[in-house]
């Protein structure tokens, strides 16, 4: 029997890798993929809790996370296309339009 903590550690590692990709990459598409990676890490931890605590609610929550991820991907990619039409770049450090 694999302990529950192994799954949580795996989810932690994937989440940290997603944070790393989001904070260090220039390409905005890779940044969005890092967000998907973080949502997947949360899903792994939710499903493992659902299995080890013998409760279905974790899987329901993870279903909602997948819904939100799909909506977020559609909106985010539409924003990327609109940005690319105006600036013709996919690099975040060339998009400093809203500088305070």
């Amino acid at each position: 029997m694999v302990p529950l903590q192994w799954y949580i550690w795996l989810a932690t590692a994937v989440f940290a890798i997603g944070v790393l990709g989001f904070l260090t990459r220039r390409n905005i598409i890779i940044m969005f993929m890092s967000i998907e990676l973080m949502l997947n890490a949360v899903n792994i931890s939710l499903v493992s809790f659902s299995h080890y605590l013998q409760d279905m609610r974790g899987q329901i929550l993870s279903l909602f996370v997948i819904t939100v991820a799909a909506a977020e991907a559609a909106i985010g990619l539409a924003i990327i296309i609109a940005l690319f039409r105006n600036k013709a770049t996919a690099h975040v450090d060339e998009m400093a339009e809203t500088k305070g």
Partner: protein, 169 residues
Amino acid sequence: MLPELFFGYFAAAIIIFSLIVVTRRNPVHSVLFMLILFFHIAALYLFLDAEFLAAIQVIVYAGAILVLFLFVVLLLNLKEETLIRRYINQWPMGVVFAVGLFILMFISVRSFLAGPKGEISSVLTGQSNVTNLGTVLYTEYLFPFEIASLVLLVAIIGAIVLAKKRLKS
């Protein structure tokens, strides 16, 4: 012994592929490695007795979201992407933050104690995963389910409004 080996292979593959995804120079390669990553995560869900979520993972993530990413990557035509630097200038700060976050969460999970057990699962009710999931989703979580459909509707309308060309008036 065998479950640990199975988990070890899939955990190692998931971590290695996610590192590859965030470090590739070409976004198309990142998307394709992410496809392999999502299949490994689906296998992990099967291992955790969540068959429906494994199917949803393959259909929605690998089938819909990644194809959307691939479309956008090909639409933007990033030829110069493969020639210039990948990371922003402040990347050491990002590495420090991510590693610190990982260490913090790793230490805090070590002292984790599981809560009380729930009452609905395949082991307890003797029914299949999908039956249990549908029972809970359409009774206890009916209202959040409706809100999820509203979220998807807003996403569809928002994507159309954002991506369409401005008409000259």
